[in-house]
């Protein structure tokens, strides 16, 4: 019943109105794209908003929470910061906390990370033979959070989790 009503509306429109609707739609899509790209420039990060996928940072972040990231290169990496990093050769970024840093006089820094809810540090996740992360592995730093309303520790709603997985972000 709903689909027939919609088709009637379309049939009633003349060519000009149809073009107007299409242009309107195009405007909305490009405005959304502009806002997203603008956020990318302002924050310096290739993915300024990410979704939490795993429970490795509980109870701070639960599955479904939104994290706002910045990636200004001049910001120094210090312990306690929540960094989003990508391991060489892997596509999915990980969001954990910095546990240890060793920085040389010229600014070269190597650091170690650990998820709050994990009992061991991330060395098991790094590449074979890799003991430290470097600035080039960092995709962004978590600066803000927006809740999802999901406070349950396990992912019960499978369809929701599947949708988040499609966004290709792992935390």
């Amino acid at each position: 019943m709903l689909s027939l009503d919609f088709l009637d509306d379309v049939r009633r429109m003349n060519k000009r109105q149809l073009y107007y609707q299409v242009l309107n739609f195009g405007m909305i899509v490009s405005s959304a794209l502009m806002i997203w790209k603008g956020l990318m420039v302002v924050t310096g990060s290739e993915s300024p908003i990410v979704v939490v996928l795993s429970g490795s940072m509980e109870p701070a972040f639960h599955r479904g929470d939104l994290l706002f990231l910045t990636n200004r290169v001049e910001d120094p990496i210090r312990v306690g910061e929540i960094v989003v990093f990508r391991i060489e050769g892997r596509e999915i970024p990980i969001v954990h906390r910095v546990l240890k840093i060793h920085e040389k006089e010229n600014g070269d820094v190597k650091f170690l990370t650990k998820g709050d809810n994990n009992s061991v540090d991330d060395r098991g996740l790094y590449k074979q033979g890799q003991h430290w992360l470097e600035k080039k592995d960092v995709v962004g730093r978590a600066r803000g959070v927006a809740p999802s309303g999901n406070t349950r520790p396990s992912c019960d709603q499978f369809l929701w989790c599947f949708f988040l997985h499609l966004l290709k972000v792992k935390l």
Partner: protein, 180 residues
């Protein structure tokens, strides 16, 4: 507004807008708050060994052992928008090979509703205090500070350092006894 579907639709849209406004309100009312409090740190025992770093790079490195006391009253930091405080004790120092080193020795999660009076004695470090090399021996200036990451319901995630730090020095020689 004459079908269940259109009524449900407007209700859903309205509740979503109200929740978004509340979330933004939570953020904006606590965004510029000063989250720093005084902290008292004391050190009771300090020891140093030189072993292969079994936590990662298998090089012979200095391993420090620090036993400390920490106390602070966290009550002023909590408000309606603070969900959790992630406390961490940092040891900061510099060596010949690295201008800046920071190692987290211990951390604790304090949720809203938990006991906010922190008063711990004779705490052993949770994580191994390995240096990147042998820079801990005779190092006269290791600074211990307690910091926390304020995790809000919605809003900014600031890192705040408590006012009050403790400097310690490591001994000149390595401990060879097995016990700690």
């Amino acid at each position: 507004m004459n079908t269940v579907l259109s009524r449900a639709n407007s209700l859903f849209a309205f509740s979503l807008s109200v929740m978004a406004a509340l979330t933004f309100g939570c953020f904006i009312t606590t965004a510029f708050k000063d989250r720093s409090i005084p902290v008292d740190i004391r050190v009771s025992k300090v020891m140093i060994k030189n072993v292969d770093d079994f936590t990662g790079p298998r090089e012979r490195s200095d391993l420090g052992f620090v036993t400390f006391d920490v106390s602070a009253n966290l009550q002023p930091i909590f408000d309606w928008n603070v969900k959790e405080l992630f406390l961490y004790l940092t040891a900061e120092y510099s060596t010949k090979s690295n201008a800046l080193n920071q190692v987290v020795l211990w951390d604790k999660i304090v949720l809203r509703g938990d006991n906010t009076k922190l008063n711990l004695r004779d705490v052993k470090s949770k994580y191994f205090f390995f240096d990147d090399g042998n820079g801990l021996r005779s190092n006269k200036n290791i600074t211990l500070t307690l910091s926390w990451n304020v995790v809000p319901n919605a809003g900014i995630l600031p890192l705040v350092m408590g006012s009050g730090h403790k400097s310690l020095a490591f001994p000149e020689s390595y401990e060879t006894a097995k016990s700690y």
